[in-house]
Symmetry: D2
Subunit: 140 residues, 4 copies
Amino acid sequence: MIAVRDKVRFVETDLMGVVHHSNYLRWFEMARVEYLRAANVLLPELIASGIVFPITEVQCKYKHSAHFDEIIRVEARLDDFSRAKLCFSYRVLRDADDVLLAEGYTQNLFTDTNGRIIRLPQLYFDRINSVRQAENGGVA
Amino acid sequence: MIAVRDKVRFVETDLMGVVHHSNYLRWFEMARVEYLRAANVLLPELIASGIVFPITEVQCKYKHSAHFDEIIRVEARLDDFSRAKLCFSYRVLRDADDVLLAEGYTQNLFTDTNGRIIRLPQLYFDRINSVRQAENGGVA
Amino acid sequence: MIAVRDKVRFVETDLMGVVHHSNYLRWFEMARVEYLRAANVLLPELIASGIVFPITEVQCKYKHSAHFDEIIRVEARLDDFSRAKLCFSYRVLRDADDVLLAEGYTQNLFTDTNGRIIRLPQLYFDRINSVRQAENGGVA
Amino acid sequence: MIAVRDKVRFVETDLMGVVHHSNYLRWFEMARVEYLRAANVLLPELIASGIVFPITEVQCKYKHSAHFDEIIRVEARLDDFSRAKLCFSYRVLRDADDVLLAEGYTQNLFTDTNGRIIRLPQLYFDRINSVRQAENGGVA
């Protein structure tokens, strides 16, 4: 599991006075990016080699509102992983008191730049897999 | 069913060259707002009377990418509805050829400004219900 | 002068209850894109041929707030134009009563994909120039 | 001068492969919020007491593009300040090598919730003024 922290931006609120629900997907992404970085999988490098990884599904359940200026903590966990897809689950917490604000998941596929589904090269698979095994106490 | 059309904005794309997945939630919202307007339920009026309607769940499945400058059409349908919650489903289509780009759903609750769950006043319930019955050919 | 209309989205508001000021730059862009389209200059085509056109300066003066669900009209005018740069000015109006909400300008350069300044190919220059001359009553 | 750091988000890029120019205004805002916090002026507290502070002018000059995943540093400086308005200037730097990416300014007024211009209460003025004097080596 990888966690990132960030401070809620003014622009992320809406006229109901709380964070707009679409921003949680952007927070999920921040944690997903850090997870992949921990595996030394850098998205610009993937893109430069012609691999894109579109989101194919996202779900989010909202428990409590996030407010301007609060520190939020986003945790990402790799739930399912193959050379065909990546499934992450996420939790967003208010960092001050660990209240769960939202949880959700995303699924990515790998495609070439024409949108055709491809398999992730073994090199990247191995990198991600090592991080995942470390997470799971060494059990693949 | 209510449909809205809009043109994909440059700012809605990301460095993968297609629309960022978080924007579909904002497009769902545009269609949801129009559905409620068709029922003469105006969100600023609700908020002014102390009723907020946070999203409690959202899901989206992405089929094909939307691109800059394409016209997209967003359809909203009210699937489930009571004085406690609203459940909408959505389809996003490329308007030029009706290709389905994404589909999803949202669930809203009604709360007061302190976040306590309330029941939607009968007045608003009746307005939404008439639109929904009209949609369903008069069958409630 | 080219004008586009759009409806203020819920997500464009912030907790002060009005449209967040950063969104006006996105509205300017919508009008700029339409201006260029009127000249048959399509941004994806330019990018595909290795030409990018980064914004080098933007300014906006805000007169009145835009609110959720209002129709806004954005007018773009090409003020200065050469094969080295494009300078547009903009006005954002509340469409219902023509109240001026904001006005501003942007400046673009043309660069290659490595960020080196280039001159716009004559083909595109001519297209933009015809629209501009038409705007100015045929006087270049 | 107050500085904040943040990491460029994937969603902040556009199909030209760099950060969309509108996001710099959101980064300015992050630094402005921190400046006011350093003065113990909390925006939600101001809003709760009926004071809003709309941006009336913004300008930004872009020197170099920011890229996904880079750490940016945003510096805010209070240039002009009275009970009627706040004028900040900003610099955005790539934190790794201090390259200046953009610079700009904003102007805020103070209004009541009906948009009427008001003067900032002395309490808040004094708080901001102490931070500013500290910045200027004690010279008001």
